[in-house]
Subunit: 333 residues, 2 copies
DNA sequence: TCGATTGCCACAAACGTTTGTGTAAAGTGA
DNA sequence: TCACTTTACACAAACGTTTGTGGCAATCGA
């Protein structure tokens, strides 16, 4: 396994008494030994030697020549977030299957940081870009459009751009239906960041479905903020302090729901007896704490995001995809 | 912002009436306008035009020439794991500061997958490698050594290799001391994966400190398994079923601790009244559920890991670093 | 039988940098 | 003043691929 990085195409060709061009064509032909670029015998010799010495093509030379990097960039708010990490895993997995490698960057949902990260990826000459941090209004997208790099959105959608997301409106409806079915009336809603489609759609689906059951969620019962446990705690505390104890609470994110769980326990309120809770995403911890939640196909969102991007890179025009979530009922509601 | 990818060094030079060599030297000189490669006036013109047209060097041409990619590879068991995601954030952040970009891959703690991922990174001609998935016996390292790519370990150590880790032995001691101080005697230990230094060291520190207090943790009170919530649940259930209810439980990972929390609740056991629990890492959820835990400097481990790698890449010989954890006491113990 | 096709391969240019070397002009010291 | 160093650049080769073009022999069709 010695320094295979030092053996070049030219070296191989010399060793074989062939020209680099022939070796290159055979090695790049998916047909392998049946390559139409050389005789079967020659093809076999090329493949054999390449394998024997562990030849690995220099991707920089290739990219320089072809002007394609086989790199795809991914930007997410934070990799620490289980949801995005899982989506990224899906992207990475699918990218590998297609011979691409994914490079990821955190934008922290901060426009300046986003801009800097995207620029850095562009400088690396990525062939395509997957954005996981786009607000509903698409405001971070204008600069990217001019660059000529194909991109798609994942997790969060923005009208007019191709994206693959969970059908969050449906997810919200599922949660609403469940709580309505349980006879809940006074309901809190931890709505997450109000500029993101995940929040907007889940909230809309939830409240509208409840409305169909004659249940109204007043504005003072809705708290916006973040998607993490801390934000969930804060929001719950605030709601509890200002409007008292509800029948139930829907958090558009499991982590926020778990934060709420903690605060409720701290106040001596029992779940589900005093308050019922439903979360969103079905992260592993949800099952640990018995949280009823809406399962979103995170891994699939990533995989399909990559595939959608590939199609766009092929010049096809594509349309957005919405993947259906399902409700998983546990002990919290 | 139009297609800055199309403006080349040669183009710049032509525009300026200079040779590409001069432009290249000035642009690469950290001294900026005071570059010793051209007159101040010329330097200024170069920088100005480069900025104006948004010139971005083609990294492939540069890498081809220099045989350095300014890419560093990172392999972790799973990015879904909050701990590793945070370490990676630290690596990524530090890498960016030093002009490198980090590329991450998941090995899933599977040797075959590990091998494949490392190879793929090597094929990309990374300048250095950071491994976050190395077992204590270093068995995954042998193939890498021959490749001539400098590497360091993070999070998990292995004797004889440079690494930056949490001082896990100390962390175990902290937990042991705390529980001993509380008068606990019958203690369960969720030890994680038994081939990893994180498990080994935390377990050793914990049991040895308890031993100093005259407390013995018998083998039947120790469960090995994984680091996640599910593994924590399983292990706890098993221990509860076979040896009854303990005074306290130490999990070498917060997620396992949270899993334990769930099972205890499910059995009607109260925390901390019936059973006290301490976890490890201080992940955000820990504060949400009031978990007493050992805080490990994850982000710092990542940052210092990158810096250690840089030193190794400089040819210096380096020694491993251990960062001190601290106990954070909440309501669970 | 002859012209056309096909199979198999080599030549050489190009991708955009970096860097060793060369060279005039300007500056320096004695 | 002269020998010298320094300043400020230019020239050109090289990094390792990919790919358009071209050529020669064998095969084919009629």
């Amino acid at each position: 396994m010695s320094k295979r990085s030092s053996v070049t195409l030219k070296g191989l060709a010399q060793e074989l008494g062939l020209s680099p061009s022939t070796v290159s064509r055979v090695l790049n032909d998916a047909a392998g030994e049946e390559s139409r670029w050389a005789s079967p015998e020659t093809s076999r010799r090329i493949l054999a030697l390449a394998h024997e010495v562990g030849y690995a093509k220099n991707p920089y030379a290739a990219s320089l020549r072809t002007a394609r990097s086989r790199l795809i960039g991914v930007v997410v708010p934070r990799l620490q977030d289980y949801v995005l990490a899982t989506i990224y895993e899906g992207i990475d997995e699918a990218a590998a299957e297609h011979g691409y490698v994914a490079v990821v960057a955190n934008s922290l949902d901060n426009p300046d940081s986003h801009e800097a990260r995207v620029r850095k990826l562009m400088d690396r000459r990525i062939d395509g870009l997957i954005l996981g941090d786009t607000p509903f209004d698409g405001s971070t997208l204008t600069a990217i459009e001019g660059e000529g790099v194909p991109f798609v959105l994942v997790n969060r959608r923005s009208p007019g751009y191709p994206s693959v997301t969970c059908n969050d409106y449906l997810g919200g409806q599922l949660a609403g239906e469940h709580l309505a079915g349980l006879g809940m009336e006074r309901i809190f809603l931890l709505a997450g960041k109000d500029r993101m489609s995940t929040s907007i759609d889940r909230t809309a689906g939830f409240t509208e479905r409840l409305a169909e059951h004659g249940i109204h969620v007043p504005a003072e019962h809705i708290a916006t903020g973040g998607f993490d446990a801390e934000a969930g705690e804060e929001a719950t505390r605030r709601l509890l302090d200002t409007v008292g104890v509800p029948d139930a609470l829907f958090a558009v994110n499991d982590f926020a729901a778990i934060g709420a769980l903690g605060v409720l326990a701290e106040r001596g309120l029992s779940v589900p007896d005093d308050v019922r809770i439903v979360g969103y995403n079905d992260t592993p911890l949800a099952s640990g704490v018995g949280l009823t939640t809406v399962r979103s196909p995170m891994h699939q969102i990533g995989r399909q995001g990559l595939e959608l991007l590939l199609e766009r890179m092929d010049g096809k025009d594509v349309e957005s995809r919405q993947l259906d979530p399902e409700l998983v009922v546990r002990t919290s509601a």
